[in-house]
């Protein structure tokens, strides 16, 4: 493991914006697709799910980053990150769910059903591991996970809109259901390629 990379304020803004648009986890890295296709049916559900993802991504990064740098690396266990991260994230999300149910029932009613779905979501694990791979310092890692969560939110809300339009239209018999959904998702994904390079140029 090399040295940690530190960022200026501008660098953090670039990280945030590129996590939302350029490196969008759903549409560019193709992580978290199952929940993206599953829960984007209705706008309110998509919003609830995305908020839960943002929260869990932040939480996961806040916990896994110290584990990597203060527990695994000093003992030469860096290669164990995947299994340890899954374990810790899953346990933590469960703990949060229990705590929410007890202390903030209204929030639990809104986000509760999504939390168990996210426990081992690949997008959450992906953020935690990529933060380590890119050797971000703690602040940059937190900003990156916020951006990734917002990117997920953007993709979900956009796709919920696309889906509601598709439901109004008549789909050819052969494309009904999942096929047209995947075609639509790929077109939305291609549209996001238009952002590549934009953010870096914008702030340089």
């Amino acid at each position: 493991m090399g040295e940690l990379v530190h960022f200026s304020f501008k660098g953090l803004v670039v990280i945030l914006m590129s996590a939302v648009f350029v490196n969008n986890y759903v549409l560019q890295k193709f992580l978290g697709i199952c929940s993206f296709l599953g829960v984007s049916k209705r706008l309110d559900q998509a919003t609830g799910m995305s908020l839960a993802v943002i929260f869990v991504m932040e939480l996961a990064t806040a916990v896994t980053w110290p584990i990597q740098y203060y527990l695994l690396n000093p003992h030469g266990l860096g290669y164990m990150q995947t299994i340890v991260f899954i374990l810790v994230i899953a346990a933590l999300v469960q703990l949060v769910e229990i705590a929410l149910k007890k202390y903030i029932p209204s929030l639990h009613a809104a986000l509760g059903i999504y939390l168990p779905l996210i426990t081992t979501n690949c997008a959450v694990l992906g953020v935690a591991i990529l933060n380590i791979d890119k050797q971000y310092d703690f602040l940059a890692a937190m900003v990156n996970s916020l951006g990734s969560g917002l990117g997920y939110f953007l993709a979900m809300v956009m796709f919920a809109g696309v889906r509601s339009r598709m439901e109004e239209g008549e789909t050819p018999k052969a494309f009904e259901g999942l096929p047209i959904l995947l075609v639509a998702a790929s077109i939305v994904s291609v549209s996001f390629f238009g952002f590549s390079g934009v953010i870096d140029r914008l702030f340089s």
């Binding site: 810790v88 229990i98 029932p105």
Partner: protein, 266 residues
Amino acid sequence: MSAIIFAVVSVTIIGIICAVMLAFASKVMAVEENERFPEVRNCLPGANCGACGFAGCDGYAHALVEGGTKTNLCVPGADGVSKKLSEVLGVAFEDVVEKVAVIHCHGDCKATSDKLEYRGIESCRAAKLLYGGKGTCTFGCLGLGDCAKACPNGAICLENGIAHVNPRLCTGCGICATACPNGLITTVPATVKTAVYCGNTDKGALTRQACSRGCIGCKKCEKACPAGAITVVDNLAHIDYAKCTSCGLCAEACVTGSISSRISQI
């Protein structure tokens, strides 16, 4: 070898710490669920229509378990559900006031006309965005059947350009009321015999131009009603069903026929 053992042991320790933490949390922060809740929830139909006034069937079941709520609020479930609920909860059975949806417009193609030809998405909500709909009356039924699509029982049909409710199939859940972009649908007690079939709040002359069966706000019904159940607000008659005795005098007095017997609408 020792490296493997070290890795296995440390991951196991992390796992055990997490497990202990979770077990501890689930004991300390356990939320007491009333054991009668699943039983009560199973009695309810699960349509989540909100006719009871709570947030879905779960909300109503919670309120029932905690007590202080009547068992006769589930309109679609009618007497059967009320009976089951009172058995489970051990309280006296109460009769459900059956409700039925009423679409407050009967400006069909004979009574009113179109001001434009609409060729957009087949949805009232979409049609409403274009100059308030295709009809000359912007308050009336758009006739594209958002309510019919929303109805879980297929109780609404479209005829002569407006929607009609079949009271035999209607369970009074009121889902259609939220689907109508003009807010023309309300649920009324099934025993009610007369209703105002107009939603136009324009002045009488304007209403008259738009539709021959619209309420012009002449207040004849208000004077005719012996129970004082009718009030005219914003040039439109309203019937208070808490006072209405279903005598039918208002329907006789109405000059445009916008108040009429519910039976004649079927």
